[in-house]
Every structure is written in structure tokens, then in C-alpha cells.
């Protein structure tokens, strides 16, 4: 009898853990196993745009949002002692943002990288930002505007320094 109870307890625990892992996937620091475009370019150019336009505390800077973004003017990484509006975005936050964005659509991102970004237009990162896919935040970029070129250029492995900078400047 005890063994049945013990087994039930064990199964219960396993179920809780499995469930937690499944439901909190977005909250874990997942390892990037899929391919994703340049981390350096992302951190240098793309993240600053995403932080400003998408990473506000009421949007992707929300604690439990999908594609959660950290940044100086939004959510700060709990592992560090910064406040919203305080010190510039940290390297830990930049790499967390990279992981977040790469994992939004991991499988398609993988295919897109294999295809040199030719399928970038189908990625949720682009379709949600363009508002062609249902998006709570509405339409954030228009085809070929600075923000759109910033995102798509990165996905295609292009130099996006200027496009991303232009997109950020428009928000000031």
C-alpha cells in the first residue's frame, strides 16, 4: 500500500515538474540549439531598436511575455541590480534578448538561416511586427521602412547599422 502511495506521490511530482517545464518554457534561459543570425549584429544594432519600440514594460518588457526583452528603458534582468530607466542595457541583457528573439520561431528561424534569410518574411518576428499576423501591439513597422529593414537585414546577414539607427532615431 505504501508503495502505491509513494508511487502516486512520485508520479505527482514528476507531473508537476513536467508541467512547470512546459508552461514556463518562456521563463527559462533556454539554450540556443537552433541556428540564428549574427549575435554580434543583433546586440549592436537590432536589440537597441527592439528594446525601444517593443521592450516597454507594458509590452515585451512585461515579466511573462513571449519574446521577453530586457533593456535600459524597460525590464531589467533579475540577476543584476539595475532599475528601469537606470544604467544602459547590460551584456547579460543583450544576450538574453538574443536568446529570446532566436527562440520565438526557432524551427522557421533555422530554415531561414539555412536559406540565407530568403524566407525571413515568413518569420513571426517580421509578420507580427508588420501586423500581418495577429499582434496585440498592432503594426509596428511597414514594409521597407527603417525598422523593417533593420529586422529583415539582420535575418539576411546584411549590415543593418544605418537602418536600425534610423529606426531608433525616429523614436526620440
Amino acid at each position: 500500500m505504501t508503495s502505491t502511495v509513494q508511487r502516486a506521490a512520485l508520479v505527482f511530482l514528476v507531473a508537476v515538474c513536467g508541467g512547470l517545464a512546459a508552461s514556463c518554457r518562456d521563463n527559462l534561459d533556454a539554450t540556443v540549439i537552433n541556428k540564428c543570425p549574427s549575435q554580434e549584429v543583433f546586440e549592436q544594432s537590432v536589440s537597441p531598436f527592439l528594446e525601444r519600440r517593443c521592450g516597454t514594460l507594458d509590452c515585451h518588457g512585461g515579466i511573462a511575455r513571449p519574446m521577453r526583452l530586457f533593456g535600459q528603458l524597460g525590464l531589467r534582468h533579475a540577476g543584476e541590480d539595475n532599475v528601469s530607466g537606470g544604467k544602459p542595457t547590460t551584456t547579460l541583457e543583450l544576450s538574453a534578448n538574443y536568446t529570446s528573439v532566436c527562440n520565438v520561431d526557432a524551427e522557421k528561424m533555422n530554415e531561414s538561416v539555412d536559406d540565407f534569410g530568403n524566407q525571413a518574411e515568413n518569420l513571426l518576428l517580421v509578420t507580427k511586427a508588420r501586423g500581418t499576423e495577429k499582434h496585440k501591439g498592432g503594426k509596428v513597422v511597414s514594409e521597407n521602412d527603417a525598422g523593417d529593414r533593420c529586422l529583415r537585414g539582420w535575418l539576411k546577414g546584411e549590415d543593418v547599422t544605418d537602418a536600425c539607427q534610423e529606426a531608433v532615431d525616429q523614436l526620440d
Partner: protein, 186 residues
């Protein structure tokens, strides 16, 4: 004790279902508006334009809360007195700009509160930017017209980090304006 095959197979399903039901509900994508409202606690005076300073007005005065008046934005401005205490900022001009080039102006009242009714800005286009007195907020308001959603007032449940502004890892702290900006807006 004779070894018998465990008759407990169907029973094993119970802890699975129970366990999963606890944990799968654990990580919601958004705190629901109801959770936010519940966390704000009961009314301390009578409801009116000076009530609940610092709280996220639109969570109640928006489509979810459905309380009248319905608001586009609403919040509370604070400032510091000579001793550095945080006090309500009165008569301060708050201007909100939208993405379509429009803007609306309000004055803070005795509690530092201000708000704009939905009817006064029907075609407002998010994201918004804000200026309170002489201070301009750099970041954007993506979609939440409650200043208090991001400028959470520090309280016991809230891990305050910056003792002066109340800012924390997920909050910009008080909406703090320059004391000299008070009284200019009537």
C-alpha cells in the same frame, strides 16, 4: 504478503492530472486585469478624481474594469518637498503625444492625479510619449494608458531598489516632476 499485481493503475492517473493542473496554470502570459485590481486593495475614501493616487487608473477606468469615466490615460505626478519627501505634484501640466501627431494636455489636481476621458481622444494612436512639467519621458507607452502600470508606487510587496525614485527592475518608480513646475497649470 503475497505479491499481487497493483490494482492502482487508474489511481495513478489522478496524481498526474492533479499535478499537471496545478503547474500548467502557473505561468500565465499576462497578469489578468482582475489580479491587478485585486492587488490594489479596497477604497480608502470615496471614489472621485483624487482617489487612489499612484494606482493604474485605466485598469478600472478602461474596457475591462468598465468603471465610469472611461479613460485613455490617467495617473499621478509626484514631486519632492524641501525635506526630500515624496508628495503629490499639483498644478503640473501633463502632455501626452500620440503617433499620429496629436496631443492632449491635462493639469494635475490636489492629489497629483490627472486623466483624460476616452471621448476626448477617440482616434488616439499608440505608442504614446509624455511630458510632465519640464520632464520628458524617453521611453514609449506601448499600449497601457495607466502611468501607474510602469511607475508602480513602492509598497511592502514591491522590492524597492532606488530609495529616491522608487524605481526597481520592473518599475520606473514615481512619476517625479520638478517642484518648480507646480502651479503653472490650472
Amino acid at each position: 504478503m503475497p505479491r499481487v499485481k497493483s490494482p492502482a493503475r487508474p489511481l495513478i492517473a489522478l496524481p498526474i492530472i492533479f499535478g499537471l493542473s496545478i503547474s500548467l496554470g502557473a505561468c500565465r502570459l499576462d497578469p489578468t486585469p482582475q489580479e491587478v485590481i485585486d492587488s490594489l486593495g479596497p477604497e480608502s475614501g470615496s471614489p472621485g478624481d483624487t482617489h487612489r493616487p499612484g494606482q493604474p487608473c485605466v485598469v478600472c477606468h478602461g474596457s475591462y474594469g468598465a468603471v465610469s469615466p472611461q479613460m485613455v490615460f490617467g495617473g499621478t505626478a509626484f514631486t519632492n518637498d524641501e525635506d526630500g519627501n515624496v508628495i503629490p505634484a499639483q498644478g503640473v501640466e501633463v502632455i501626452v503625444f500620440d503617433s499620429a501627431g496629436g496631443s492632449r494636455k491635462r493639469c494635475t489636481n490636489a492629489a497629483g492625479n490627472f486623466y483624460l476621458e476616452k471621448e476626448e481622444w477617440k482616434d488616439v494612436a499608440f505608442p504614446l510619449t509624455v511630458k510632465a512639467g519640464s520632464r520628458r519621458m524617453r521611453s514609449l507607452i506601448g499600449r497601457d494608458g495607466s502611468c501607474g502600470s510602469c511607475h508602480k508606487i513602492p509598497d511592502v510587496d514591491f522590492p524597492e531598489r532606488d530609495p529616491e525614485t522608487g524605481a526597481a527592475y520592473d518599475s520606473a518608480g514615481y512619476v517625479l516632476v520638478d517642484p518648480a513646475d507646480q502651479g503653472a497649470c490650472q
